[in-house]
Symmetry: C2
């Protein structure tokens, strides 16, 4: 089993270290502060604040390096990678994929990088919040962009399986658009709905709407209660894809507004939404498929598998 070097020991990195250690891996990592490193060491983990030393060790034992830092910290780490471990096996756990791939191409162009996104989390953060079971049952996107290194793709997928996740292959840009549509846009629509319904103190003085609100408003605004810094980090980091998703929503809302104002008819909007929700409700269980990591089209085939809603469950002999 390949060693794992985790850069960043917050909720995601800390959970990953626990899960990989429980699976029998040799795991070590780096923390940004002495306090966090000491807490991890006290819990029996091999964590230092010396990033260069950890990266050199990863280069020496051909470990898989996992970037588990927030997006704004990625460039700085990549510069160190390029300096001390330029061709290391590299993945990440950041929630957007095009921005990280671009940063790798710029700052650590020789790294053997295959992006990843374990789609798990809680409202907590920090080493102490880590949980080796965090990734169980979650989708773990493994990026299948052209040029991906099949060995590192295998490394990332096997780490994801050990953490109990489903491996969903996807192109970076398709991943970013998908999460914009099903995670980031819902947060923004919830925020707008909450503001329209509850009003703002000093601007809307009537509590009548809230007094009459029921489950449609409660459900539609639930994620507006998420801590704003978490929402901003994930949405603002996915700006380009989110803009496309917002524009699609605005386009549909504009057509609806026009119909409401002209004929008063909302059937097109309501029927399309109903059909879409039925499509969601009838989503089948993903098929777990064994795939090949060679051949002329292996990456295109993986992307197609992900688009069908299926997952990678093993390797063809």
């Amino acid at each position: 089993m390949r060693n794992v070097c985790v850069v960043g020991t917050g909720l995601i990195g800390g959970s990953l270290m626990r899960a990989a250690k429980a699976a029998g891996r040799t795991v070590y990592g780096t923390a940004a502060s002495d306090g966090t490193a000491a807490a991890a060491v006290a819990d029996g983990f091999d964590v230092t604040t010396d990033l260069d030393a950890a990266l050199r060790r990863a280069a020496a034992d051909d470990a898989l390096v996992v970037l588990a830092v927030p997006l704004p910290a990625v460039e700085g780490v990549l510069a160190r990678v390029d300096d001390v471990a330029p061709t290391v096996r590299l993945t990440d756990a950041v929630s957007v994929k095009v921005a990280v791939a671009d940063a790798v191409a710029t700052y650590a162009p020789h790294a053997r990088y295959v992006g990843g996104h374990p789609m798990a989390g809680t409202a907590e953060s920090g080493w102490a919040a880590g949980d080796g079971a965090l990734f169980r049952g979650a989708a773990w996107v493994v990026v299948a962009d052209d040029g991906a290194d099949p060995e590192v793709f295998r490394d990332v997928a096997e780490l994801a399986w050990e953490c109990g996740s489903r491996v969903v292959p996807a192109a970076s840009d398709e991943h970013d658009l998908a999460v914009a549509k099903i995670s980031h846009l819902p947060h923004l629509l919830a925020a707008v709905l909450a503001a329209v319904g509850a009003g703002e103190p000093g601007r809307d003085d009537s509590d009548l709407p809230l007094a009459l609100s029921a489950s449609s408003f409660a459900d539609g605004t639930r994620v507006a209660g998420t801590r704003p810094e978490l929402v901003l980090a994930m949405c603002e980091g996915n700006r380009s894809a989110l803009l496309a998703a917002v524009d699609e929503a605005l386009g549909r809302l504009g057509v609806m507004r026009g119909a409401l104002a002209s004929t008063g008819g909302l059937a097109a909007t309501v029927n399309a939404g109903y059909a879409a929700r039925q499509r969601w409700a009838s989503t089948r269980e993903p098929l777990g498929l064994e795939v090949s990591l060679d051949g002329p089209d292996w990456l295109a085939e993986l992307r197609e598998l992900g688009r069908r809603g299926d997952v990678v469950s093993g390797w063809k002999a």
Copy 2:
């Protein structure tokens, strides 16, 4: 106890007949079809298909007539009211209030009308789905527009209490805007979110977004699964207020889109949504207040009570 004449014996009217009878009232009503009338009679209720006869009886015994028909059927019933019981005590259970008030002013201008909206319902419909407990714990809006007859206001409120509801006084237009914001807009945003996320067959061929979707998408699209004919009836009937609510949402989304495209910053949107959801979450229990139905400002005071989120619980001696 004043007799009650219920016009329309579907889910709402049928539930109201059961609740009022259980409270000890003399209740009678009219159904649109022989089959429904027969079903109600078989259940022990005094229901006929002869609308004129029922309205004449209501005029003779000074009963409260409750219109519990869909909005498109209101005008026809009002024309009969004007013909055979022009000054009857009249309320309704339609989910929009300005449109009904306008229809009463046009078609039954001498009726002693005070609008109502019991905010309860299920996905079911028809006499058999009726339930005397349907209104328990629900808000029952009683319209406090200028000119309202205090005796009929009292009649409607007392009927609402007997059904187990909270009496929320409101102006017709404020009611319509409130329900547009907290009920109709949530349905339309859910429909748009579902269509963006799930795509449409033939237009969006990737199931990747649905495969990656989690609770934010599930919650944000839940009411998109409501039967389209129900959503269309309530939204299209509230066209004018809904247009205002949609335009407020579009205005907020447009500002957000501009910020995302220019600076990339979403803090204004996300913080306003968070504050609004907190405001919703900290909504206090309504105060139940005894009110007076006379004096120069009794209607304005009732409307203000509703805007504060409180309810009418009785009459001042």
